[in-house]
């Protein structure tokens, strides 16, 4: 890339066959600050998705058609992403951070010779080099890392920035890109089950844990009853999280596990109830802007790490808080 050329930023868009979610819009917002965003989809984009892409200032939408190849396999998806990067001469491929996307990013970078930045919360151009920022060691250090190769692949943490519409709408014109790929030799996807979406009692779909603005998490202190956690979460329109111990006990699915070997989250507000705040858990939620603890033990590490803590029984406190929030909402409307 010459100094004057505008960098093409290829953004992998998931859920393009339905409506785009916030992390994709956040990635497009960041992409606009670094060059010209080009959206890449692996499924045929829907009309609402194209409308959202136009709002995000995207002129060009590449639909990489993998034919019969199993695009659910990250190494296969990466063939399409690498092909699209070559086709558009992208200087940066941007994905949102998730387990699957990190795998796609790794394979894409390997194929294209690009440098890899994982879980960045910022990305900037410093004299032509891309520099990613990341907070590590449970929020105790800030680091910056530059890509030394021509091209870069980066995964962006959900909630690192606020999604914004572009100053002017893009054309969002779809261009097909046939890609020949096959399943990696020796690998077979036998079964794939998409989990039921979590909904509250009235059927309102709860936000996804990784991208929620507010998360209410429960641990061993729930003693297996997530009712109070759900009650407060639903009053706040929050996602539900948990510790590994609660998952181990079978009280809740692994999808809800927050922490180093679960989901890493950075919500605006994190409320941890009946959670001690072990480093494995803390490492996955330290990026939350406000941390609130509800615990019977005032010495619990999570209390010490919090901004605000209520010492007492979560089974009393969470429903009371939920009721107070509901009555406040009712008074306002």
């Amino acid at each position: 890339m010459t100094e004057t050329a505008v960098r093409t930023v290829l953004v992998l868009i998931e859920n393009a066959d339905a409506a785009l979610r916030s992390p994709a819009l956040e990635a497009l917002t960041l992409a606009r600050t670094l060059g010209m965003p080009v959206a890449l989809t692996l499924a045929e984009p829907s009309t609402p998705a194209l409308d959202q892409l136009a709002d995000a200032g995207v002129d060009r939408v590449l639909f990489a058609d993998l034919g019969e190849a199993p695009r659910e396999i990250p190494a296969v998806a990466a063939v399409a992403v690498a092909a699209a990067a070559a086709h558009t001469g992208a200087g940066l491929v941007l994905l949102t951070s998730s387990f699957v996307n990190k795998e796609i990013a790794a394979h894409t970078a390997w194929r294209t010779g690009a440098g890899l930045l994982i879980d960045v919360t910022s990305l900037a151009d410093a004299g032509g080099r891309l520099v990613g920022g990341k907070r590590v060691f449970a929020g105790t250090w800030d680091t910056e890392c530059a890509v030394t190769t021509q091209a870069a692949v980066a995964t962006l943490r959900p909630n690192a920035l606020t999604a914004q519409a572009a100053a002017s709408r893009g054309a969002a014109a779809v261009e097909g890109l046939p890609v020949a790929a096959s399943s990696p030799a020796g690998l077979e996807l036998l079964d794939r089950v998409v989990h039921e979406v979590s909904a509250d009692a009235s059927g309102v779909v709860r936000p996804a844990l990784a991208e929620a603005a507010v998360v209410v998490a429960g641990g061993r202190g729930t003693a297996g009853d997530f009712g109070p956690v759900e009650d407060l979460a639903d009053a706040l329109g929050a996602a539900i999280g948990s510790t590994r111990d609660a998952v181990d006990e079978g009280w809740i699915g692994h999808d809800a596990q927050v922490g180093q070997t679960g989901v890493t989250i950075a919500p605006r507000v994190y409320i941890g109830a009946g959670i001690s705040g072990a480093p494995h858990h803390h490492g996955g939620m330290q990026a939350a802007r406000t941390i609130i603890a509800v615990n019977t033990d005032s010495e619990a590490p999570l209390v010490e790490l919090s901004d605000f803590a209520v010492i007492g029984d979560l089974h009393e406190i969470l429903p009371a808080a939920a009721a107070a929030i509901r009555s406040r909402r009712a008074a306002q409307s």
């Binding site: 659910e72 190494a75 387990f99 795998e103 970078a109 390997w110 194929r111 440098g115 890899l116 930045l117 994982i118 520099v131 060691f137 449970a138 929020g139 105790t140 250090w141 800030d142 680091t143 910056e144 530059a146 030394t148 990696p184 020796g186 690998l187 996807l189 036998l190 794939r192 998409v194 989990h195 996804a208 706040l236 590994r244 692994h254 999808d255 180093q260 070997t261 890493t264 605006r268 507000v269 409320i271 480093p279 490492g283 609130i292 005032s298 790490l305 901004d307 605000f308 803590a309 209520v310 010492i311 007492g312 009393e316 406190i317 969470l318 009371a320 808080a321 107070a324 929030i325 406040r328």
Partner: protein, 260 residues
Amino acid sequence: MRIVVCVKHVPDLQSTRGFTAEHRVVRSADDGTMNEVDENAVEAALALVAAAGDGEHEIIALTLGPDVAADAVRRALQMGADRGIRITDDALAGADYFGTATALAAAIRRIGDVDVVLTGMAALDGLGAVVPSLLAAALDLPQLTVVQELTYSDGALIARRELDGVTETLRATLPAVVAVTDLANTPRLPKFKEIMAARAKEIEVLGAADLGLADGASTNRTEVLRTDPRPPRPEPEIVTDSDSSGGRALADYLISNDLI
């Protein structure tokens, strides 16, 4: 069956972690351990060998890292690995994901006839979770990653993984790369006898030249520019739930700070 388990030496989560002036992770023997999920990888290797039954088996623990990193290999030997290899070289110090994967892959090729490459799902220091995929790409092998349940039958591996709202079951023939989570098994605690026996096991040291990577630095594709400690968090505001006022106090905090 020949299995290579990649184990990383990382600072203990309970310790005060930090960086040196050269932006390298501070590593010390006292505050360092084998990356905990890599213990699950060693355990998975031992289980695979047991499932494979009769025949010649070998488990090799492999690490890339400075002298203290030998502790991670030693731990794997205590758990039951047969031998260990540590890659170390000034040219490979400060390796990034690519530098790491390139060196590990070169060592795995040099070992030869490897049926399974086992790793942890993520190193708990950087939480990259990309080295396993890079190894699969470098070695051109199928991968089973973020594995919560691993079984071996009829010469193939079946893995279940649950991630990003999806549960998948995958089957891979050998050779393959497998990355396990902490839910895959419960790592054994080595007994005194095993700890003593591990002392006698050899840890081979390989340099960049042994791996055909004398120009090792060039396999890096990133450079750390800045590592800064953050100021400590302010003291928390703590209220006690007396007279059942705690719930309202929580609601008031959220409302008055404009958090909802």
